[in-house]
């Protein structure tokens, strides 16, 4: 089937609307036009039975074809089998007419009907297949005209006009269905392409804003330290100044780590915070339990801020722990350090605690949604 299967696209909706239209035409035709024709001409038939049989066969084929079309089930072979059955039912009805009865008359109701069955069964097939089916049906009717000796010029001319008129009408639904479906698909594709471009533009804009914001943050914290060192208002001998420098170094390291493409970004950033401590010879012990849930950068930063401080001022050893559950992440650091700059929470969703006992500092930052 050359129709998009996704029921949500506009193209699919157009195609489905065409399908429903054909089902309605066939149903109306067979429930109103055909019975009326049969009943009004009942006196003309040699027997009413063949007409009723043909009508019933077409009714069954119509129901099967409608269900298959609306549910988009059924095979091509099955569909053609039903086409053949419909055409033969029509031929049976025509053959049962009295010899004197004109083939092109109201009494031969099936001639006008069967074409719509072909449309119903083949609307989703290439249009040429429907053309072939209609041609076969018309050929059988022509054979009946010739066989009953009615092939005079007027009748043949009428036959050609009727075939042409109904043929054009019956070829319209699949053609329109395809045109609408194709146009809608094109429109959708271009809308999607536009959305992709828009998305990329928004992403790069967001990245730019985030970058600008990060540099502004750094300017607030790093630049005063550098400026102070440069103009000698900050003394490198002062332990507090050294702590500030280490913290700012760790902040820079963490900033660089934020844009890395790694599997566990949170642990990656936390390790970046410990990087300088480890380079200074601090023995850092790690213990993690549980899986850190997906969370925004804002929380990553808020959770690593206090541990970053503690690690920056650790003297010789530190234990870093991460305890993670879907609704809770607790990062703890125990280090031999005296906190000259007690860490504070930078985000309302993250609680920072610290506890100094002699030379041992414990800090914890904890996010919990319980």
């Amino acid at each position: 089937m050359n129709v998009p299967a996704d029921p949500t696209t506009a193209a699919t909706r157009y195609v489905q609307a065409a399908d429903r239209l054909v089902v309605v035409i066939v149903a109306t035709w067979h429930l109103i036009y055909d019975p009326v024709a049969i009943l009004l001409n009942a006196a003309l038939y040699r027997s009413l039975l063949p007409q009723l049989v043909a009508w019933s066969l077409l009714a069954i084929i119509g129901v099967i074809g409608s269900v298959q079309l609306l549910r988009t089930t059924g095979s091509t072979a099955g569909r053609w089998g039903l086409v053949a059955a419909a055409v033969l039912a029509g031929a049976f009805s025509t053959a049962a007419l009295p010899a004197a009865q004109p083939v092109l008359s109201y009494a031969n109701w099936s001639f006008g009907a069967v074409g719509w069955w072909c449309v119903l069964l083949l609307i989703r097939r290439p249009v040429v297949e429907l053309g072939i089916a209609l041609l076969a049906h018309d050929t059988i009717t022509l054979a009946a005209i010739v066989a009953t000796g009615q092939a005079d010029r007027v009748t043949l001319a009428r036959f050609v006009v009727v075939c042409f008129g109904t043929g054009v009408l019956q070829l319209l639904p699949p053609v329109i269905s395809r045109l609408l479906g194709g146009t809608a698909t094109m429109a959708e594709e271009s809308a999607q392409a536009e959305a992709r471009i828009r998305g990329r533009r928004q992403a790069s804009e967001a990245a730019r804003v985030a970058r600008v914001r990060r540099y502004q943050e750094l300017r607030r914290s790093v630049v005063p330290v550098l400026a102070g060192l440069a103009d000698r208002t900050l003394d490198p001998e002062d332990p507090t100044v050294r702590d500030r420098c280490r913290i700012e170094y760790a902040r820079l390291r963490r900033l660089f780590a934020e844009s890395d493409d790694v599997e566990d970004l949170f642990m990656h950033q936390l390790r970046a915070c410990a990087d300088l401590a480890e380079r200074r010879g601090v023995v850092v012990e790690w213990a993690t339990s549980g899986r850190v849930p997906e969370m925004p950068t804002r929380l990553h930063r808020a959770l690593t801020e206090a541990p970053m401080h503690a690690l920056a001022i650790a003297q010789s050893n530190a234990r870093v722990t991460v305890l993670a559950r879907p609704d809770e992440v607790a990062v703890g650091v125990i280090a031999d350090a005296s906190s000259s700059l007690p860490p504070v929470s930078i985000d309302p969703d993250v609680v920072v605690s610290n506890h100094q006992e002699g030379e041992q500092l414990w800090v914890e930052s904890r996010w919990c949604t319980r």
Binding site: S289, G290, A330, G332, H355, E357, Q360, W362, E364
Partner: protein
């Protein structure tokens, strides 16, 4: 055994094939001032240990990594070792496991099998003696790494906020006295909280004799009451 003064030391059989590790454990046991443990058998294989005098040992100490797997403990190796522990536990043995593989999954599998305690290698120096003594008496013992694996287990029992906090701080590396000061409670209460979490965890997963004994002992000691371990409604 129970709480009477220990006249005879607790006997330990040790499954380990790395000389350095054997020496280390030997010296720690020797350095214990109370001489509360006695190492009576050492071998690289479980069956060898059990066929000798180790068959009578009170506690089996086991390294999760053995000679045939130096490059790293593979999944099937873990399964094999866990099956070993299950068989030992079902033969009514107390097993204490230590390993350098401290992933939550390995720790939980070892505990599920019915091991009394799990120690990360770096915890051995601080916790080995106490963990073995506790195992011999069916008392709960929980080093920090094991605590973390239990706290983050989806299947863990319901814990009170206080129990969870005590365990969290313990996992983070605080001493129990520090946890007590931080929480404003007595150190004995901290011990109780942590031991209670371990005891409650014994009802999780595979039923095993050691787990039932641990729970029975915890009830007897007044650590938990029977209502704590009845199936959750």
């Amino acid at each position: 055994m129970g709480g009477e003064p220990m006249v005879h030391p607790v006997t330990v059989a040790f499954v380990e094939d790395q000389p350095v590790a054997i020496e280390g454990v030997r010296s720690w046991i020797a350095a214990d001032p109370g001489k509360r443990l006695s190492l009576i058998a050492v071998s690289g294989s479980v069956s060898e240990v059990l066929s000798g005098p180790g068959g009578q040992a009170n506690v089996l100490l086991m390294d999760l990594q053995l000679a045939d797997d130096r490059v790293g403990l593979q999944q099937e190796e873990v399964s094999r070792r866990v099956a070993d522990i299950e068989a030992l536990v079902d033969a009514n043995r107390r097993v204490v496991v230590y390993s350098q593989h401290d992933s939550d999954e390995v720790i939980r599998a070892v505990l599920d099998a019915g091991a009394s305690a799990y120690l990360a290698k770096r915890e051995v120096a601080d916790h080995l003696i106490d963990a073995i003594l506790a195992a011999a008496e069916d008392r709960p013992y929980m080093p920090p790494e094991m605590t973390g694996a239990i706290l983050t287990d989806d299947k863990r029992p319901q814990l009170s906020d206080q129990e969870f906090m005590a365990c969290r701080l313990w996992f983070q590396g605080m001493k129990k006295a520090q946890v007590a000061r931080r929480m404003g409670i007595r150190e004995s209460t901290v011990r109780q909280y942590i031991a209670r979490v371990r005891a409650k965890y014994a009802k999780v997963g595979r039923p095993a004799g050691t787990k039932a004994d641990l729970l029975a002992r915890a009830i007897q000691d007044g650590l938990i009451n029977a209502a704590d371990i009845s199936p959750r409604s």
